[in-house]
């Protein structure tokens, strides 16, 4: 990867970081978390593809990343699906006295 390309990717990463910070001050409500994670995933993809040489690798390396990402999606999805069907927790956590 050439120096100029590395610097361009770096500038984009820093720009996306600034965008994430700026959007955190916008009242996006329920969309705030997905938007922040989407930008983080974009940055992570850029780093993996360009800086971690995934663009130069074929076959096994890409397959390994794909398998890991699939497992991450499955695990997080199962947890969220299960959590969506839960009743509010009955045990109030924390060592402090919680006001009713």
């Amino acid at each position: 990867m050439k120096t100029l390309s590395i610097l361009v990717v770096g500038a984009v990463l820093l720009g996306l970081t600034s965008l994430t910070f700026a959007l955190s001050h916008v009242p996006l409500e329920e969309a705030a978390l997905p938007v922040a994670l989407l930008i983080a995933a974009s940055k992570a993809s850029g780093i993996a593809w360009f800086y971690m040489h995934l663009s130069e690798q074929r076959g096994g390396s890409r397959l390994t990343v794909l398998a890991a990402l699939s497992l991450i999606v499955v695990l997080i999805s199962i947890v969220l699906l299960e959590a969506a069907d839960r009743q509010p927790p009955s045990n109030a956590p924390g060592p402090f006295v919680v006001e009713p």
């Binding site: 820093l14 930008i39 695990l75």
Partner: protein, 208 residues
């Protein structure tokens, strides 16, 4: 003695491919380690949605944000160092790695300042939690996860710094050439992973 002692493992391209594949398998296990913690965060965020959304108001957002810029910039320097190592410019490569090491150390110093502030405030994990301004259901869980996830990440930063220091020494000894620079790429990948993990921790704990 043969000119290339590793020749029986195949040509250099085959060995580089194997090294990258092996590193990606290792990084996949690291990702899954963090995924377990992110899944726990997701579960408790679903249970205590309002508390987790308010958590960032009790965080040092300026320090967390500064650390994000620090780590992303360090990743750029590591990528530049790898490019220079590939080109055979060993002193420039070592210098760029040195800047990345300084940035990594800066991250740890800032994290230490932040941790100290949390200790003073009583924003501690589990039964030690005593932050009265944020005394609501799930608040101690938020900070327990914060300490766990950022603590494990900080440990990875320390290991990553060790890797970068080793690469710098190897670069100064002229071990990286246009034909042989595998360890530089592989070591750099570990540092980039440390950066990638932080890119997700930052919004979850400091912004949203």
């Amino acid at each position: 003695m043969p000119a290339d002692p590793g020749a029986h493992f195949g040509d250099r391209a085959a060995r580089d491919h194997a090294a990258h594949l092996g590193m990606w398998v290792f990084l996949a296990t690291e990702l899954l380690l963090f995924t377990v913690m992110f899944a726990t965060y997701a579960l408790y965020r679903a249970d205590f949605s309002l508390t987790f959304r308010e958590g960032h108001r009790h965080m040092a957002v300026a320090i967390g944000t500064a650390n994000t810029y620090v780590l992303v910039t360090s990743s750029v320097f590591v990528a530049l160092a790898v490019a220079q190592g590939r080109a055979g410019s060993r002193r420039i490569c070592a210098g760029l790695l040195g800047v990345a090491i300084a940035l990594g150390a800066t991250f740890l110093v800032l994290k230490g300042i932040e941790y100290a502030q949390h200790v003073r405030d009583g924003a501690l994990p589990g039964v030690h939690y005593r932050l009265s301004e944020f005394a609501r259901p799930g608040a101690s869980l938020f900070f327990s996860l914060y300490w766990l996830m950022t603590g494990v990440h900080a440990l990875h930063v320390v290991i990553g710094l060790g890797v970068l220091i080793s690469l710098t020494v190897l670069a100064l000894r002229g071990r990286f050439t246009p034909d042989a620079h595998g360890p530089l790429e592989i070591g750099g990948m570990y540092w980039h992973l440390v950066d990638v993990i932080w890119l997700f921790l930052w919004p979850l704990f400091y912004l949203v």
